[in-house]
């Protein structure tokens, strides 16, 4: 048996749980991280010598916990921290006994700490992905196009604020629940949006998408009666189900309405349908469920061959009330064009631009280009495409827009 392979599998399956249990138990992210890293290192040595333990995850937790106690005790000697008394001296027998102690599931508590609304959204995302998923600073820096130093600072500062401002390591009180849960959902939403933006999804973005998918599923399992949590999990699954259909062979983005539905992932769509149904049973609607329902209406094309655009427009109408945003206005305009004609869509876009100037915003120019082209207004479409290209689209979208522009000039 290959110790490293077993360790890899164990970290993949139980790593987030062990990390969370250590962080919550010691109320200290750095201590937990260091202790977990130590346990992994020790595992490779010990397991390749003596063979793997019966329960590798419990072994990692027990060794990590002991290491954290030792580190904490040392810090205490230096007068820096106050911790519970350490376990008795480590011996193989106590390790064996400890190995049968179940690992407490503290992931929900940890999610609430990392996603506290008093932390800036970008700090929440970084801290959540670092502490819960174990994503490296290097990788986080690459995804967010920032330096490793800046990313490290962001995370260090967030940890310091949690400590200094005393953000408690507890599930929030009922009075604060709504705002705290909203902050968690917003964190995952922004993280997924980052992963989704580039259809070409180089490995970092795909990784991030995978982690967000996993976290949203975990949250849905931990809070099965929160319909908006289920809504977000649905939304992410449906968006992710289309990943295989989002790129053509040249690496250009394929818009939703032109995607080959046979490439959509039926398993994710299925999973999403069940989640959305459970959300609906709770009888409390909200923006995430509405967005999920819009995605679900698009997903239905896989079965029916058509898109129920009228239904999409109605859902966008509700969403505009629940959570008004320029993106919702623009998406609704595009859907409206399918139901009422291109001119109605263009009118709606103009109306959105009057509420808030959108000409420097990529989704607006891309939508305008598409509708103008369909209305036969080639000059305006070309202008919008040039504006969109100047707004720094991700590579796959840039190829798509550039090709549209070529087609117009041809």
């Amino acid at each position: 048996m290959d110790a490293e392979r077993i360790l890899g599998a164990c970290v993949r399956d139980a790593g987030d749980r062990i990390r969370a249990a250590l962080a919550i138990r010691f109320r200290d992210f750095d201590l937990a991280e260091e202790a977990f890293a130590f346990a992994c290192l020790r595992a490779v040595e010990t397991w390749s010598r003596n063979g793997p333990p019966r329960d590798p995850a419990a072994w990692l937790y027990a060794v990590g916990r002991r290491r954290a106690f030792d580190l904490g005790r040392r810090a205490k000697v230096r007068g820096a921290a106050v911790l519970e008394p350490p376990d008795p001296a480590p011996d193989p027998e106590s390790l064996l006994i400890a190995a049968f102690e179940p690992i407490p599931d503290e992931r929900l508590r940890l999610i609430f700490v990392c996603c506290h609304p008093a932390l800036a959204p970008e700090a929440r995302i970084a801290l959540t992905l670092r502490t819960l998923c174990g994503l490296s600073i290097e990788r986080l820096a690459r995804v967010w196009l920032t330096s490793e130093t800046a990313m490290l600072q962001r995370i260090t500062r967030a940890k310091r604020k949690i400590r200094d401002a005393r953000i408690r390591f507890e599930i929030p009180e009922p009075g604060a629940w709504g705002e705290r849960l909203e902050a968690v959902l917003a964190t995952l939403e922004i993280a997924y949006a980052q992963a989704y933006e580039d259809a070409a999804g180089a490995c970092d973005a795909a990784d991030l998408a995978h982690e967000t998918l996993r976290l949203s599923g975990l949250l849905a399992a931990l809070l099965p009666k929160e319909p908006e949590v289920l809504g977000l999990a649905t939304l992410i699954r449906l968006a992710e189900s289309r990943r295989p259909a989002r790129l053509d062979p040249s690496g250009a983005m394929i818009p939703l309405s032109e995607q080959d539905v046979r490439l959509w992932d039926p398993e994710l769509i299925n999973e999403a349908a069940q989640l959305l149904q459970r959300a609906a049973q709770e009888g409390r609607s909200g923006p995430y469920q509405l967005m999920a329902a819009i995605h679900a209406t698009h997903a239905a094309r896989r079965e029916t061959g058509v898109t129920a655009w009228r239904c999409v427009v109605t859902l966008y109408d509700f969403l505009l009330v629940a959570r008004p945003s320029p993106l919702t206005e623009v998406n609704r305009a595009v859907a409206l064009a399918e139901v009422m004609g291109v001119d109605a869509g263009l009118d709606a876009l103009r109306a959105a631009d009057r509420i808030q100037p959108l000409c420097d915003w990529l989704p607006y120019q891309a939508a305008r280009a598409s509708l103008c082209a369909r209305a036969g207004r080639s000059a305006e479409a070309a202008l919008a495409l040039r504006a969109a290209l100047a707004l720094g689209p991700a590579p796959a979208e840039r190829r798509f827009l550039a090709r549209r522009l070529e087609e117009l000039s041809a």
Binding site: H116, L119, I167, R168, P172, A176, E179
Partner: protein, 113 residues
Amino acid sequence: MQYLLLIYSDENLSDPATLQEVTAAHMRLGAELQEAGAMVGGNRLRKSDSATTVRNVGGAQSLHDGPYAETREQLGGYYLVEAPDLDAAIAWAKKIPGGPNYAVEVRPIWPIG
């Protein structure tokens, strides 16, 4: 009559000698105030990056990570509250009334010693 004396300083001051000097001077001033019967209270605050600001805009409240940094509003008062954690402190901050637009910065006290 009571007066609030607000201290604005470089919070990243790190030269140990200067820090020590300033701390000692604060101790001396504290003793002097006590002796004169003028001391009502005083605290050191944690660095501004541990602050959370509750913004009130037309009745809507939102949280922001960091200190209050606008210049239009001026410091108009303060409450010193005992709270078990940040959520509880924020809950109090949200109850603080004001005009249509105002903000309340929640900053932890940094106990001395």
